[in-house]
Symmetry: C2
Subunit: 300 residues, 2 copies
């Protein structure tokens, strides 16, 4: 495994890979790797010749009151995990390397961001889009891997690729779950024992919504009400931040659900805010009876 810190060396290495005809799979991260990242890496290994993992805590995607400086970092541990998972190259630049002219050019994202978690993080996705454009230009991947746990981020990456015409295939990867259905997250350790037990209900609430759709319901307000009611009834410790039903990946609200949709929720616990979602397609042939599945939003 190679560890590269400079853009120049990365350019050279990528040029060599490309000229020998290797396909490049890219997993962008902010480090502090967990099972979610490991599953992205293993998906990338299956689909590509070379796997590049970037580790970069990107300052421009943190708000002024957010935790850029205290964001957990452990490059030694990350390196070990990446090596074990079979990563070929870690790209680990510093901020000066990625922002040689400071913030003199930024990408402004005007769509898909004023809903879900984006509503409470103004400018967050501007930072995400800016750093991804830099990374895409350096790494020139054939495929890029993101977890559907953060479905809004996947929607924004889809928009970056379409808006700026990147010849890159987006591979959204299924959310990894605990046995009781709780979405895996490094934040889960911040839950108390009682909170941890209750948190499995988030996914159950979303499944209630899907069940209703499978019975033929199409009204967004009724589906939303069903999920909200379930969570309100069953949660004693967590406080609902939002329940949303939107088109996917456009993240538009409508009165009835469209072809591809997302049911998403966020719940605040004492030390952790949890998010979860289901992305699914309506299957017209099954007359309202459709199974949930990972949406492959790339259409190339």
């Amino acid at each position: 495994m190679q560890m590269i810190h400079s853009v120049k060396e990365m350019n050279k290495t990528i040029r060599q890979m490309k000229s020998s005809g290797k396909t490049i799979g890219f997993v962008p991260t902010m480090g502090f790797l967990h099972e979610g990242h490991q599953s992205l890496i293993s998906q990338a290994k299956e689909m590509c010749d070379i796997v590049v993992l970037s580790i970069f805590v990107n300052p421009t995607q943190f708000g002024p009151n957010e935790d850029y400086l205290t964001y957990p970092r452990d490059i030694k541990r990350d390196k070990m995990i990446a090596e074990e998972e079979g990563v070929d190259i870690i790209f680990n630049p510093d901020a000066d390397e990625m922002y040689p002219l400071g913030e003199s050019m930024l990408v402004k994202v005007n769509d898909r961001v004023d809903v879900l978690c984006g509503r409470s993080r103004p400018g967050h996705f501007d930072g995400v889009a800016t750093i991804l454009i830099k990374l895409f230009n350096i790494i020139m991947p054939d495929k890029v891997f993101f977890g559907l746990k953060d479905a809004q981020q996947v929607a924004v990456v889809d928009s970056i690729i379409k808006n700026f015409h990147y010849p890159i295939q987006l591979i959204p990867c299924e959310t990894k779950r605990e046995e009781d259905g709780l979405a895996k997250s490094s934040r889960n350790v911040r839950l108390s024992a009682d909170e941890r037990q209750e948190a499995a209900l988030l996914n159950k609430g979303l499944q209630e919504g899907l069940l209703l759709i499978n019975k033929g319901e199409r009204s967004v307000s009724r589906i939303k009400k069903c999920v909200t009611l379930f969570l309100e009834t069953h949660l004693r410790l967590g406080k609902i931040d939002y329940v949303e039903v939107l088109s996917y990946p456009e993240l538009q609200s409508a009165t009835s659900i469209t072809e591809r949709f997302i049911i998403a929720c966020a719940v605040q616990y004492k030390e952790a805010r949890l998010i979860d979602n289901i992305v699914a397609d309506l299957d017209p042939d099954l007359k309202g009876e459709q199974k949930q599945y990972v949406a492959h939003i790339d259409e190339k």
Copy 2:
């Protein structure tokens, strides 16, 4: 010569070129080709295997009171000229093709834009940067060619390439001039006979500034004053819009000139606003005696 309208076909064509090891030279234009473009094309032909010329009148770089709809277009004539000059591929998409998701993502340029012509065209370079990122991703050129006549645009392209880490070499091309020194421009035909004669003085004014520098002057305010005085004294018909002396390509103002600098002016005539500039380097070895020359601002 191939004429391509769709991104998809362009992707396919570029992939073929790349895999056969051809280098790609790119000349981005808004069409209505003139001698300036022709000289960019011939420079590209000299330096690259394949020359791609884009013709696209980019809506996002026009202000609300500017002439997007009436901007001159003549694709038939452009095609003839391009063919004669030996262009290999014209890329001529429509706005829906380039902006498939509308203006849902735009690049915001925060630097090098609040001076010179950018001051009176807020948002202009945001549109320029946005379309260039799209075009760079589609055409994946090795070298990109821009005329130094619009030196601010060259400075912004330099910033795009550095900010977003494009593996592209910027080739700034010398301004073509009439025999009396007037910079060639399609706008020159809008000058009356008297205005046309007077317009040669713009370049002479800039040369006065350079002469002063060659005599050892380093004070920006004195150099600016010298050029302004020359133009004020000699122009009877044109009105000075600005005279500026700045670092290049950073376009920062300082009290004394630095290593690489630009002397630029804009003069308003009845039906045409003319711009001109000199970009030059101070040569420390010549103790203040330096020749004007085209700045190659790319350092790769």
